[in-house]
């Protein structure tokens, strides 16, 4: 018997007829699937470039007849009763002002530097952040985000023409957009879309300038995951790299970028 067959056989044997354990203290209650009142997943396009999978078109887009968000993309696949019961919050109900305020508060808590700007001020804000530095941008970053004066210090990266790791290491910074941000936890999520680029570019350079379009901000974790396609390479960022391994004293910046600049555009 192959290891695969044998392990599967062992698991089946172990479960026998009684798939319910004796020691089980849970009696979940609550509605099946997402709360009806869940807010409709993202409103508009996020100023993304080409082909980025904008929710709600298909976060977990594999099911053919997947229902449209927000009805619960996973609901369709929901198996036996008992597993899908979710009594926790699936929507925060916060308005845009509250979302921005909460996200800023959380980011500052992580020692990220945050700024809220209007669309017209974005290019200026990015330029200020990268004054005197050489940096990389993903191919799909909207060109109007970059001040023409930066042309000489900008390197463009793409999946088709990736920049080598050693070269990335010599650069000082990176500018990317982001797919979703979760206010309550201060989490920014990159999903590898053309305006966010390969994972390596937001990792190796020491300074990450990350743009958060206001319409990509949600309140809580379930709202955030509902907008994502999990099969894309996802990076969840909550503040710059940090360690607490030495006497639990938090030290920011170990291996990932040591400086995280977040520019919220609204």
């Amino acid at each position: 018997m192959s290891a695969r067959e044998e392990i599967l056989a062992r698991v089946r044997e172990a479960l026998g007829d009684d798939s319910q354990p004796v020691t089980q203290s849970v009696a979940p209650s609550g509605p099946q699937g997402r709360a009806e009142g869940a807010p409709v997943a993202p409103s508009g396009p996020q100023g993304r470039a080409e082909g980025a999978p904008v929710a709600p078109s298909g976060p977990r887009g594999r099911a053919e007849g997947a229902p449209v968000a927000p009805s619960g993309l996973q609901g369709a696949a929901s198996p036996t009763a008992g597993a899908g019961e979710r009594g926790y919050r699936t929507a925060s109900g916060l308005d845009e002002d509250a979302l921005v305020e909460l996200l800023v508060d959380r980011l500052v808590d992580y020692k990220a530097r945050v700024e809220v700007v209007g669309p017209d001020a974005l290019a200026g804000a990015i330029r200020t952040r990268l004054e005197g530095k050489r940096f990389v941008v993903p191919e799909g970053l909207p060109s109007e985000w970059l001040d023409p004066s930066l042309a000489g210090v900008t390197v463009t990266d793409s999946r088709e023409a990736p920049i080598g790791v050693e070269r990335l290491d010599e650069l000082d910074g990176v500018v990317t957009s982001s797919a979703v941000s979760i206010a309550e936890t201060g989490t920014i999520i990159l999903d590898g879309s053309p305006d966010q680029g390969r994972r390596a570019i937001s990792l190796v350079p020491d300074h990450h300038v990350c743009v958060v379009p206001v319409e990509t901000i949600v309140g809580i974790v379930p709202e955030g995951f509902a907008r994502l396609d999990t099969t894309r390479p996802l990076t969840l960022i909550s503040g710059p790299s940090a360690t607490s391994d030495i006497e639990l004293e938090r030290v920011e910046g170990v291996h990932g970028p040591r400086t995280l600049d977040v520019i919220i555009v609204r």
Partner: protein, 544 residues
């Protein structure tokens, strides 16, 4: 590979690797207790994380509902494990990954070695992972000429210090900054000899030390916090960015994942990504989480493998009473609240999995009759703090008690019968070797004899004044013989009262107290008029 195929064994085989204590818990604990430095470090660390955790948990109005959901998802996942594993395999494979299955530690190590060799590389970078720790992968590879570099700061400290991790979240929790500096000075080539013990400087030394490795590594090895059956997605939750480095830059990525880590749906992440960071580091969210699904063309490793590991998990799964230990998401909340862990530290448990969860998981993986792990279920005060803290509501105390029962069965079941039949005996007629009864067996046997009849108990109580005479002038017994000696080594036993409750009750009842029928009413005012004389605790405590 270690299994001969003679059909399926009734009980799945035990797990191997670093899940067996090298010495009994009491012995190891006793030694570790003598380490004041360790105790101070641990006390500080566990209390700090504990407080942070409580703060961020209390922020969430739906914490209990999340725990319920987490527990329900895990229960469901375990009950459908065969189907979910197959689905995971299909999805991971469909997206360009390769799935391997390993029956035990030896098989998993061999698979990883083969995969590394196929790349032609002699070096691998590693993301901190409990599964690879469990199977002893680093040591295995080292012996075969492959260097595995731990890249998590704490794991690096442990590795450079030729030490063992003592906590699943902060493995170097037992080391203070001075010790860490000394390790770095001694073990890191090119380290600045002026290195101070300031945490920031130490962290930057580690950054410099590992940077070249990250940028040149061809192969990385990781564990996984989750595997999503619906999509074939793997996830790693971390803080420092070393995980991202390993998961993104090399060409080959090998992930070792216990089969119990599989979750049915992508949506389940919304539950665990709330439960895990808050329970483990006490943060609203950990700094970095990476999720990948097979290989993504042009982005990240193109040669992506996962090794699905049994190593005793099916054995634990077969145990209906212990099965839920497999729900563990390795957050470490239980060890941070455990009074036993706080004093002994993680090394005393011997296993990769220390603390309360280790005390049940290790014996479940190896079988409690495995001699090395049989003392682990006793490494608890059964205070219940671990159950309260556990984000997936594993009833650790209940499983501990159950495993103690199993252990007694396995070891002394027959011995006790022999004891009752008249003391020590060895080989009985049935040809099975009977073990000598332990003191515990004798004590339990005596207790059951005494408690089985009121007369016997009454007779025994007459002996109370004798026990009282054993006590010192302070009313405490500080030394007891035999089994109880271990107990009295570190604490005193109050002397028994000079009169038993039963005897006092009898006297009181015959002394004109109301009849037996209204016990409830009398019970309401125990210290009232006819208060007993010498039996009174307050007086006893201060009179001598």
């Amino acid at each position: 590979m270690t299994t001969v195929n003679l059909g399926l064994p009734a009980v799945p085989p035990r797990g191997f690797g670093n899940i067996s204590a090298t010495e009994p818990f009491p012995k190891a604990a006793h030694r570790e207790l003598g380490n004041a430095q360790l105790r101070a470090n641990l006390g500080h660390a566990t209390h700090t994380i504990r407080d942070k955790r409580l703060r961020v948990v209390s922020e969430l109005p739906d914490w209990e509902a999340l725990r319920d959901a987490g527990s329900a998802i895990k229960t469901d996942a375990m009950s459908r494990l065969p189907e979910l594993l197959v689905q995971f395999e299909e999805q991971f494979t469909a997206r360009g990954g390769t799935v391997h299955w390993a029956r035990d530690a030896a098989e998993a190590n061999a698979i990883v070695e083969r995969l590394v060799r196929a790349t032609g590389s002699q070096d691998v970078v590693k993301v901190k992972s409990m599964a690879t720790q469990e199977i002893g992968l680093n040591e295995y590879l080292e012996e075969r000429g492959i260097s595995a570099f731990e890249t998590d700061l704490a794991e690096l400290i442990v590795q450079l210090g030729h030490d063992k991790p003592s906590h699943i979240l902060v493995p170097a929790i037992h080391k203070n900054r001075t010790e860490i500096r000394d390790i770095f000075l001694q073990e890191m080539p090119d380290v600045d000899p002026e290195l101070t013990d300031e945490p920031r400087r130490l962290a930057m030394a580690a950054r410099a030390h590992l940077r070249k490795k990250f940028l040149s590594a061809k192969v990385a090895i990781s564990g996984a916090n989750f595997g999503i059956a619906e999509t074939g997605t793997l996830g790693v939750v971390e803080s420092e960015g070393n995980g991202r480095m390993c998961l993104t830059l090399p060409e080959t990525l090998i992930t070792v994942m216990g089969i119990e880590k599989v979750l049915p749906r992508a949506q389940d992440l919304e539950v665990f990504m709330q439960l895990l960071p808050r329970s483990s580091t006490g943060e609203r969210m950990n700094p970095y989480t990476s999720l990948w699904t097979g290989a993504t063309s042009g982005d990240g490793p193109q040669n992506v493998h996962v090794v699905l590991l049994d190593n005793g998990r099916t054995r634990a799964l077969a145990d209906r009473h212990g099965r839920s230990a497999l729900h563990c998401i390795r957050c470490s909340a239980c060890m941070n609240v455990c009074p036993v862990y706080e004093r002994t530290g993680g090394h005393a448990y011997g296993s990769t999995y220390p603390g309360p969860i280790g005390a049940i998981l290790s014996p479940l993986l190896t079988g409690v009759e495995a001699e090395e792990n049989s003392s682990l279920p006793y490494a608890s005060s059964l205070c219940g703090a671990c159950f309260d803290a556990c984000p997936v509501k594993i009833n650790i105390p209940e499983i501990l008690v159950y495993l103690r029962g199993e252990d007694v069965e396995a070891k002394h079941g027959r011995g006790r019968a022999a004891g009752e039949a008249g003391g020590a005996s060895d080989l009985k007629g049935n040809g099975r070797r009977r073990s000598l009864p332990t003191q515990m067996d004798v004590a339990l046997g005596a207790a059951s004899w005494a408690l089985s009849s009121g007369d016997r108990l009454g007779l025994l109580e007459k002996g109370l004044p004798v026990a009282r005479a054993l006590a010192g002038r302070d009313g405490k017994i500080s030394r007891l013989p035999g089994l109880a000696a271990g107990w009295t080594q570190s604490r005193d036993v109050p002397a028994p009262p000079s009169e038993s409750f039963r005897s006092w009750w009898k006297k009181r009842a015959t002394g004109g107290a109301p009849g037996e029928g209204d016990g409830a009413r009398r019970g309401g005012a125990p210290g009232g008029g006819a208060a007993p004389g010498e039996g009174d605790g307050a007086r006893r405590g201060g009179a001598e």
